[in-house]
Symmetry: C2
């Protein structure tokens, strides 16, 4: 080989690094991909060509690379996402009808909460989230709910990673978080006020599968002014219960 230094990364690793580059930016030039993937340009060039030939990535007229439909299709084969989205759809729709705000369905992925689905009312608060993005567990309603029902080592990892304070209300200390999670486990519901997005509050509840394991969380995010309205807590709880039932959960 020309030389070496790039520390014995396998070819597969390199292929994956390139895929990773697209998690943070949808339309990338060769050089951008190379930078993000920490690979030499020439190597990146060759591997990108293989990706394109396969069809997972496509190259636009502008020379930029994008994720292709083939890769999108592959994603649709993820069993959990497929099943949950399918079953949850009607419940989330009802929730949206009743509130006209943001409705979310999320699962935990490592130390983040990933939105599988997001429905939004026409004039809902602007939020950063989007389907497929990964948000911190400690600063979102769904995240806290998922964390509350995750194995303890996940909690430890979150703490170890140093939970970032997004807003004054964000919980960051061990004690604060523990108290909140205990409350969630007790009541089966979480209410967060301005912990990630200012001007917004969220209500979230756990979704259980047939074995009783918490596999997802449902939430509504709305403007703080509406915090007092009772239908949020009720709606989220009922939706979560409905989806759980659809998954085969019997209390």
């Amino acid at each position: 080989m020309g030389d070496s230094e790039g520390a014995g990364r396998s070819v597969a690793d390199k292929v994956f690094s390139i895929a990773d580059a697209f998690q943070s930016g949808d339309e990338l030039t060769l050089t951008e991909v190379a930078q993000r993937a920490r690979l030499p340009i020439s190597t990146t060039h060759r591997l990108l060509a293989e990706w394109v030939e396969w069809g997972g990535l496509v190259r636009g007229d502008d020379g930029r690379y994008r994720v292709g439909i083939k890769l999108w299709r592959l994603g649709t084969r993820q069993p959990t996402a497929r099943r949950l989205r399918d079953l949850a759809r009607p419940y989330l729709d009802d929730l949206l009808d009743a509130t006209r705000e943001h409705v979310h369905l999320a699962v935990r992925d490592d130390l983040g909460a990933v939105y599988l689905e997001r429905l939004s009312g026409r004039d809902a608060v602007p939020v950063i989230s989007d389907v497929g993005t990964r948000l911190p567990l400690h600063a979102t309603g769904v995240g806290l709910v998922l964390l509350a029902f995750s194995p303890p080592e996940v909690f430890d990892a979150v703490l170890a990673a140093g939970p970032r304070r997004y807003l004054p209300n964000t919980l960051t200390s061990d004690a604060q978080l523990r108290a909140r999670l205990a409350e969630i486990r007790l009541t089966g519901l979480d209410t967060s006020v301005e912990e990630l997005t200012s001007g917004a509050f969220s209500v979230a509840a756990p979704v259980r599968d047939a074995t009783g394991t918490v596999v997802a969380a449902v939430s509504i995010v709305a403007r703080v002014e509406r915090k007092a309205e009772p239908q949020f807590a009720l709606g989220v709880r009922m939706a979560a219960r409905g989806i759980s039932a659809a998954l085969g959960w019997r209390p």
Copy 2:
């Protein structure tokens, strides 16, 4: 190397073959993957381990491999699918409300039509389609519409591939197809009756982007008995027009 025969496939190729294996089967054992990918077991084993380490595939307690959330997330970064789904959602919802049948949004991927979205009424006809599946261009409403506005070489390729006859009504000959596509181009609408699914008919219309290019198609699939009802053609046409407008199309 131990030997060779597997004809100079590059590592990347092999990695991709493994991904392909999951397009046809969601939960696969090592041996199944090896068979589908046409790779030696030991090679498959090693590469699967790398996939799992990366997180794109996950291995369940049952030893089977599945597509992981990471790969699903990567799919959500596909710009076309994301944009179209987002914009189309409200129009498709309206269409569903008005008809209570199957509502589809599809794009062309090579020689197939891929459903980006499918909403279904509670008691709609059972159909084989699902989000992410690829259906033949010549035998579906959306497919014919997409074909009508694709470059001529796509049509040639479809003919060359030998269009399969699914039901007596399926169009298969050059002449039949040409006539139908001409009609679609003229009227901006397609009506198919029992061409893929018996007992079902579909109405489909093209979606255009800001440049006037047809980028997707909308359709309704319903039971033949309702064929005479006028709201289908109207609804599909209006939905397609609405989505086009949202994409920036000005007639």
